[in-house]
């Protein structure tokens, strides 16, 4: 009898298997990520970008990232180094344009564009639209370092153009921010791993709420193992931007 009691106690003390998230709960986690990062208006960030590649000199940039929630517009404007100043990317509708003031021409680019030749993609600095672009599936609850996380697999919805069709996220259970992100090719091959160790939030008047942003983003190339990219968001401004900012003419005028 005593043995049975001990066994029962041990069973009670033993860690319970993680309860799986229902589809509804999983979708809610993903929607929460989008909502936390949504600026609900205009957003401007000063970003430091550093790329390391095998046998190459490090490439560093300082750039401004502008975005507008309503019509999903996005623009990057490179500030430094001097040789890169004035180059920019502009996303309008489903088009990603690249402008180089040195040649004064606009070029159409794809979602797979490596921003400034680094391992950064357009989506890394854009507003999160996970729920709109992917379907989510809970995989497991586990620990990432000392943090309790949900592991969720995302698969791209038909007809949506994204850089990677499959994404795996490690979402902090406590506050709902993404800590780790794996991006996979259609074949299932792991292409890139991202870590987001530091998060900040800023008040947005247009959203009437807080906008969360990863202050530090680290991407490790899983194909070219020696390659990695670091993004540091140095400051953020959520005040309204000029109305005509997301136009080719504006970027050209700033680059002249």
């Amino acid at each position: 009898m005593r043995t049975i009691r001990i066994l029962a106690l041990l069973l009670l003390l033993a860690p319970l298997p993680a309860r799986s998230l229902s589809q509804e709960e999983t979708d809610r986690v993903i929607r929460k990520i989008d909502e936390m990062e949504r600026s609900g208006g205009d957003y401007k960030a000063l970003v430091y970008m550093e790329a390391k590649e095998k046998d190459k000199t490090d490439v560093v940039y300082e750039l401004l990232a502008y975005r507008r929630s309503g019509d999903q517009k996005l623009m990057f404007l490179f500030l430094e180094p001097k040789t890169e100043a004035g180059k920019g990317y502009l996303r309008l509708e489903k088009n990603l344009w690249f402008y180089d003031p040195r040649v004064g021409r606009w070029e159409r680019r794809t979602e797979r564009e490596r921003i400034g030749g680094t391992d950064t993609r357009r989506g890394d600095l854009d507003e999160s639209r996970l729920a709109e672009e992917f379907t989510a599936k809970w995989e497991a609850d586990e620990k990432l370092g000392k943090f309790e996380v949900h592991r969720i697999l995302l698969t791209v919805r038909p007809g949506v153009d994204v850089a990677f069709p499959t994404v795996r996220l490690w979402v902090n259970k406590e506050n709902g921010v993404v800590l780790k992100r794996q991006e996979l090719a259609l074949s299932g091959r792991l292409m890139r791993t991202g870590y987001f160790p530091r998060w900040k939030k800023v008040w947005s008047e247009s959203k009437k709420g807080e906008v969360w942003y990863a202050e530090e983003m680290r991407y490790y190339d899983e194909v070219e193992k020696a390659n990695q990219t670091l993004l540091l968001v140095k400051s953020v401004d959520t005040r309204p931007l000029e109305t005509n900012l997301f136009t080719k003419a504006w970027l050209e005028s700033k680059s002249r």
């Binding site: 401004l64 404007l77 040789t83 180089d100 004064g104 939030k201 490790y220």
Partner: protein, 713 residues
């Protein structure tokens, strides 16, 4: 009687007997002589062809890009490969200061010219046809906004009309796709907005209000309509960055076939003609050229050749490229011209162009002429023409992606390598543009990168430790509300520094010192006497070392990489072929001589029986053979020379494929007589004839008169 007089008399008798023997056995003499003559003809022809091929290929490579000697940084990981290696472009360490290397190399006796070079591949953005047309209209709009809108602007109106027509064509094309699409699918719904946008771009209302908001209208066309045209993109270009003036002097094989050379000291490019043909030419025109070549040179026929049939089918099915180029005025003109040329009343531009391109063996030549005489003048046959600017983009040495605009001054062809896919694709770029693309990491640039890193306070986290370092024991996910930090982009942009205007860049004329000072990847050295390559190479290395530079010197052949290797292989095959021809000729001559001499055993025995000494008989045989060899060898040589000249007069041997074109260094091989190889080959044939006759003669002499007279014929 003196000994000398006796020898002379003996000699005369010997000669008389030899001649009488030769004349008496006319048939035998003619057969043996004919064989010797044939051998000499073959050898003269073979050696002339080989010589001509060798000299031609050498001249092609030396005169196009190779020079005599090539110098490059000794610390380079890869060997220099001017035409690319099997693993792509060679990775070469740069020559930091070309001017210093040039000065050092010019101190070496016999060095005539030193030309800087940098070879690389890059992308040329072509855009889709819509993007190109829209870019043209955007330039018009920009100009009108800066300089004011003139009352009469025919170009601007024509560009607008052209775009409207392009939208109409695209709408017609997509209408068919819509008719078979599943209207309930998500993709259909997603694309409905695009189709609606296209309808707007076709409507008159859109174009009537275009001028009220030209920038907004352009963005509508660029972002909503142009993406529907799924063509275009970019193409690769391979170029040599150089000092165009020095290049022109050093490489006479590089000929400007259209346009003009890059003006001295200025920026610009000459596009490789073959590159332009393969990548920049209107696809229908290129296919017509290829069909013509296949028919004329290789004797292929559309009716019997699946590939030619496929090209014809592609031409008739893909008229869109042509129609998109034609604005409404040109469309009407094209229809009018084609109606007259083809004798049809067809009004539909698509159908009449398709009818023109629907070729068969009977009508091909006529249709080809009509295309180039009637339709081509209304079209832009190449996506880039002389006077245009192209944008070249390449990942630079410093890691950043560099782009430059370069004006196209003309098209260049490398003599003898026009059809070589490896060598003929090369374009020529001024060294200043090349240096911009190469993006050498100067100490100033490196310092700027260091300063940016320090300012950002970035730390490196190794992949292996990333999770532990970022989310381990001490890590937290700090979430702090931060105050909005305003910043002024204008001030930040100013900190980036000013840029030289693009127009200034193209007007600028660089001095020779500015052209020479700076980085290069290799240097072509031209010598006064190409025979001194071997002895000059170590002197060049020493001279560079004295100037504090460690360089490697390689011959033009070593530097030619794959082209050099294929040339070496072709040479080997040719030498082997001539060796076989030689061997066959010698065996035939040898057999003929042995047989001819052995037939005379009885005759020799008789001569010995009536008192002829062995030595006398031997010399007699040798004299007969030498005489036959001299007379018929001479005739053979004369015939060989005549054939070589006759081939030349009739235009040479035509190259019927690209390998032959490369081998012949041009469209036909015109063999030339190489004196040295001619004399050597005739001498070898002659010597072998004598040796072939001597052995059976010695055998014959060993026969006793009795044995000889008893033997059967």
């Amino acid at each position: 009687m003196s000994v000398v007089a006796s020898r002379v008399r003996q000699g005369r008798i010997l000669l008389q007997m030899a001649m009488r023997n030769l004349v008496a056995s006319r048939v035998r003499t003619l057969v043996v002589g004919g064989i010797v003559a044939l051998g000499v003809v073959i050898v003269v022809l073979g050696s002339s062809l080989l010589d001509s091929i060798d000299v031609g290929m050498t001249r092609s490579i030396q005169g196009s890009l190779g020079g005599h000697v090539q110098l490059y940084n000794a610390a380079s990981r890869d060997p220099l490969a001017l035409y690319g290696g099997t693993m792509g472009e060679s990775v070469l360490e740069p020559i930091d200061d070309f001017a210093r290397l040039k000065a050092a190399a010019l101190t070496v006796p016999g060095v005539k010219l030193v030309v800087p070079m940098g070879i690389d591949q890059a992308m040329v953005s072509m855009g889709n046809v819509f993007d190109v047309a829209l870019e043209r209209l955007r330039a018009d709009v920009r100009r009108r906004m800066e300089q004011g809108a003139p009352a009469d602007a025919p170009d601007y109106e024509a560009h607008k009309a052209h775009l409207r027509r392009m939208a109409t064509l695209l709408q017609q094309e997509l209408r068919a796709a819509r008719e078979i699409a599943d209207e309930t699918s998500g993709v259909y719904r997603d694309r409905k907005a695009d189709f609606d946008a296209l309808s707007t771009a076709v409507e008159g209302g859109f174009w009537e209000t275009f001028d009220a908001d030209p920038l907004g209208s352009l963005e509508f066309l660029e972002n909503r309509v142009a993406p529907l045209s799924l063509d275009g993109g970019f193409t690769f270009i391979r170029y040599v960055g150089t000092d165009p003036e020095a290049f022109q002097k050093a490489f006479p094989g590089a000929q400007v076939v259209e346009g003009s050379p890059i003006p001295p000291g200025q920026r610009g490019a000459l596009l490789g003609k073959l590159y332009a043909e393969e990548w920049l030419k209107l696809r229908a025109a290129r296919r017509l050229d290829k069909i013509k070549e296949a028919r004329d040179l290789n004797g292929r026929r559309i009716a019997k050749d699946e590939e030619l049939q496929r090209w014809v089918k592609e031409n008739t099915g893909q008229t869109r490229d042509i129609l998109l180029q034609l604005d409404p005025v040109r469309t009407r003109e094209a229809v009018r011209r084609l109606q007259a040329a083809l004798g049809t009343k067809e009004e539909d531009p698509g159908k009449i162009v398709a009818a023109l391109l629907d070729t068969n063996d009977d009508n091909f030549d006529a249709r080809y002429r009509i295309f180039y005489a009637e339709l081509a003048p209304l079209l832009q046959l190449y996506s880039v023409k002389v006077g245009d600017f192209i944008t070249i983009k390449a990942p630079s040495r410093s890691g950043y992606v560099s782009s430059v605009n370069v004006p196209i001054h003309g098209f260049v062809e490398f003599r003898g390598l026009e059809r070589s896919a490896l060598a003929g694709m090369m374009s020529v770029l001024d060294i200043h543009s090349w240096r911009d693309l190469y993006g050498y990491m100067t100490p100033e640039r490196a310092a700027e990168v260091r300063r940016l890193k320090e300012r950002a306070g970035a730390r490196t986290v190794a992949r292996e430790d990333a999770e532990a370092a970022l989310f381990g024991g001490g890590a937290e996910v700090p979430v702090e509300p931060v105050a909005v930090k305003p910043f002024d982009e204008a001030a930040l942009l100013l900190a980036g520094g000013g840029r030289q205007s693009r127009e200034d860049l193209f007007r600028r004329r660089y001095t020779q010192a500015e052209t020479d000072t700076g980085v290069a990847l290799n240097a072509a050295v031209i010598l006064d006497d190409p025979r001194r390559i071997g002895e000059t190479m170590p002197k060049l290395v020493e001279a560079a070392a004295r100037a504090g530079m460690k360089v490697k010197a390689v011959t033009w052949l070593e530097a030619s990489g794959i082209v050099g290797q294929s040339m070496g292989l072709l040479r080997m095959v040719l030498y082997l072929a001539v060796l076989i021809i030689f061997a066959v000729a010698l065996v035939i001559i040898n057999n003929a001589m042995v047989m001819a001499t052995l037939q005379r055993v009885k005759e020799i025995g008789t001569m010995r029986a009536i008192g002829a000494q062995r030595r006398f008989v031997l010399v007699l045989v040798v004299v007969e053979v030498v005489t036959t060899g001299l007379v018929f060898g001479g005739l053979g040589a004369a015939l060989g020379i005549a054939i070589v000249h006759a081939i030349g007069w009739t235009g040479g041997i035509a190259a019927t494929n690209d390998t032959m074109y490369f081998l012949f260094s041009g469209p036909a091989l015109i063999p030339r007589l190489g004196t040295a190889s001619l004399v050597t080959s005739v001498a070898i044939v002659f010597l072998v004839s004598i040796l072939s006759a001597l052995y059976p003669a010695v055998l014959a002499m060993r026969v006793t008169p009795l044995e000889a007279m008893q033997s059967d014929e």
